[in-house]
Amino acid sequence: MNRMMAIVERELRKFFRSPWLMMSAMLLPLVQLIVLGNAFGGKIRDARLAVVDYDHGTQSLKIREAFNAVEANIRTFHPIYYDNQRQAVDDVRNGKLDGALVIPAEFSRRVYEQNRPQIALVVDNTDNFMSSTLETEFGDLTQALNQPDVQPRMVQQIALSIVELYPYIEYMKYLLPGSIALAMFVSVMIGGGIIYIDDKARGVHEGYLVTPITRLELVMGLNVAGALKAMMAGLVITIIGGLLAGVSSIFDPRVLFELLLMITVTSVAFIAMMSFLMVRVDDPLVPRAVFGILNTLMFFPSGAIYPIKAFPKWLQVIAHIDPFSYAVHGFKALLLKEAGLSAIWTDLLYLSLFGLVMMAGATALFKRTL
């Protein structure tokens, strides 16, 4: 036990003497949280929309009034009036415009005659997000225009009322659980991967191996130290990220305790996995080379930035094995839903079992000789 603690002491002393290393472990998730949270979280504003009105009738005027209302209120788009449909479509193609609405001649007359009146929306569907936003907006607008001027006494149409269990979740909040898990992952990647192999190459392990330390003590010492470092990174990102994203529940003692539990179990699972992967590696380039691959393979399928249900089957299989998925699920439950232990016990159980299996594997594979 004392020998194991000597390894932990050595690792932590080194850790606190190199604050830049600690900072770099947290920098990537923080930058990601701030940049991605702000880049993807917003709604589209001030899209440039051409309006080509060949009708100039009362019904087209109604549409133009509706556009003006949109421009003045939610500002999804800003109408620019064109005389020529071809010029408008060309400008959509070359990126000067985000879309074009064409109101054909005789539109008002067709409305009054109830003769299938149509307007056309031209969108640049290479930008899915923009085109689907415009389509949704115009779908709503058309539905509003189609409402009869006089409502019947008994409305027969079925209406869907949506009940949201939680307040609106901004994208930065949605990203926060993934960022916390990522901070711990980067920490174990640096501590349990890069520094571990560098120490091996420098001969530090040779120094350990000539002492009477056992294989288990050495593996446990390195893992406990790695888990403590990952926990610190996770806790710091939880607090800073929570403040940035406006998650006030982190200061609730109950939530904080549950978060600490989640951070601890996640750290153990991650460092054990890293130990297992690196236990037989000698080349210092290997952890640096696999860092990006592991990050992509574990972070993106975890549901941290996109729902797992939207993945193809094979990616869902990866997500179900990936400890990152359980970490993200657990942090989401605690941070976004303030759900208690009942919501995260399966995550805790999976991460604990995963950590145990990985630790056992790493110990079995660890060579007591050079």
């Binding site: 000597a6 002491e9 050595r10 350990y208 002492t211 009477p212 000698d282």
Partner: protein
């Protein structure tokens, strides 16, 4: 003392009656088809400083790593402080201190922290730890640097710290793998003096590997010369030098040599052997250096042969190495440097 009947039994061992500290019997290490250590046997007696001398790549480090439990043995056996390194590895580790070739102390930690961590790894009781560290820091002359971060120390000071680290648990046997490699001459001498002082105060048995002949000559009671994984000679430095025919080495370079010049050189009085070294250079071993030199110069004047350079010196361990391996240690070291495989990262 060696058990290998093929090796010359050159000198009565002054430690012959001392108990055996290290016994290596037919030890072998193979990596696939490559034999790094080939059937080596020797014994090191308690209190002795035993040197393994050889060029880089000769198998010295592999040998020391097998004795210190770092590498599994392919064949043979090694007993250290009475413990078989295969069967009682843990007991062997407790009895030995090891200084690896690389400087492996933590640069971010202070001198004292480095020693403290290793004292804990060796399970030195908390009450003895401080006293042991204080003593060692005085011994290696680093007491006033105890709070300094290791990265602020010079190479020589870091090596002294490593030596202190290897002794923190009061081992009986001390293994040092090329302890002065990379140090400047002043630091090397400081390390030698410190090792001699420690050895005398702690009654240690020391096994040291080196490719520096002066280091082996100055420090070691006995030297084993290792080349290509084989033990080629083993005895005290004095006895090894005495085993080489001739007591002086003459290195001479000529210009305009007539035919049969080489043969006439060989026939000079007191010449024990002669070896051409290329570019009209000869290495002559002589029982009487001054006589051979006088005759050689007189012969050159008579035959109008120009002597471009001439040096006379006593037999060194390099001559011993040449005698037993057929090549100079410095050449072998350079060749090993040139052909050493890429470092395994």
């Amino acid at each position: 003392m060696t058990d290998d009947p093929r090796l010359p039994q050159l000198d009565a061992n002054i430690f012959a009656n001392a108990p055996v500290a290290i016994a290596v019997e037919h030890i072998t290490k193979k990596y696939g088809d490559f034999t790094a250590v080939d059937d080596i046997s020797f014994r090191v007696m308690e209190g002795e400083i035993f040197g393994l001398l050889g060029p880089n790549g000769a198998g010295k480090s592999t040998l020391i790593r097998m004795m210190t439990t770092l590498l599994p043995l392919t064949g043979g056996s090694a007993t250290v402080a009475g413990h078989d390194v295969k069967k009682e590895a843990d007991a062997a580790r407790r009895a030995i201190g090891v200084i690896p070739q690389a400087l492996t102390s933590d640069l971010d930690l202070t001198v004292e922290e480095n020693l403290n961590i290793y004292a804990k790894l060796y399970s030195v009781p908390a009450k003895d730890r401080k006293q042991s560290i204080d003593e060692l820091l005085e011994m290696v002359d680093l007491a006033k640097w105890r709070g300094a971060q290791t990265k602020t120390l010079s190479g020589g000071m870091r090596r002294r710290l490593e030596i202190a680290r290897g002794l923190v648990h009061r081992p009986h046997i001390f293994f040092l793998d090329e302890p002065t490699t990379g140090l400047d001459p002043v630091s090397r001498v400081a390390v030698w003096e410190m090792l001699m002082k420690i050895k005398s105060t702690r009654n240690l048995t020391v096994l040291i590997t080196t490719h520096y002949m002066d280091e082996a000559d100055r420090l070691c009671d006995r030297i084993a010369i290792v080349d290509h994984g084989k033990l080629v000679a083993l005895d005290s430095p004095r006895a090894l030098k005495a085993s080489v025919p001739g007591e002086n080495v003459i290195e001479v370079q000529f210009d305009n040599m007539p035919p049969e010049w080489e043969q006439r050189l060989r026939n000079l009085e007191s010449v024990a052997s002669m070896q051409p070294e290329g570019a009209s250079m000869y290495r002559i071993l002589s029982h009487d250096g001054s006589l051979t030199t006088t005759q050689l110069v007189a012969m050159a004047i008579h035959d109008n042969v120009k002597v471009k350079s001439l040096s006379v010196q006593s037999t060194t361990l390099d001559d011993v190495f040449v005698h037993y391996t057929g090549r100079a240690l410095r050449d072998a070291t350079q060749a090993a440097h040139a052909y050493i495989p890429a470092m395994r990262w």
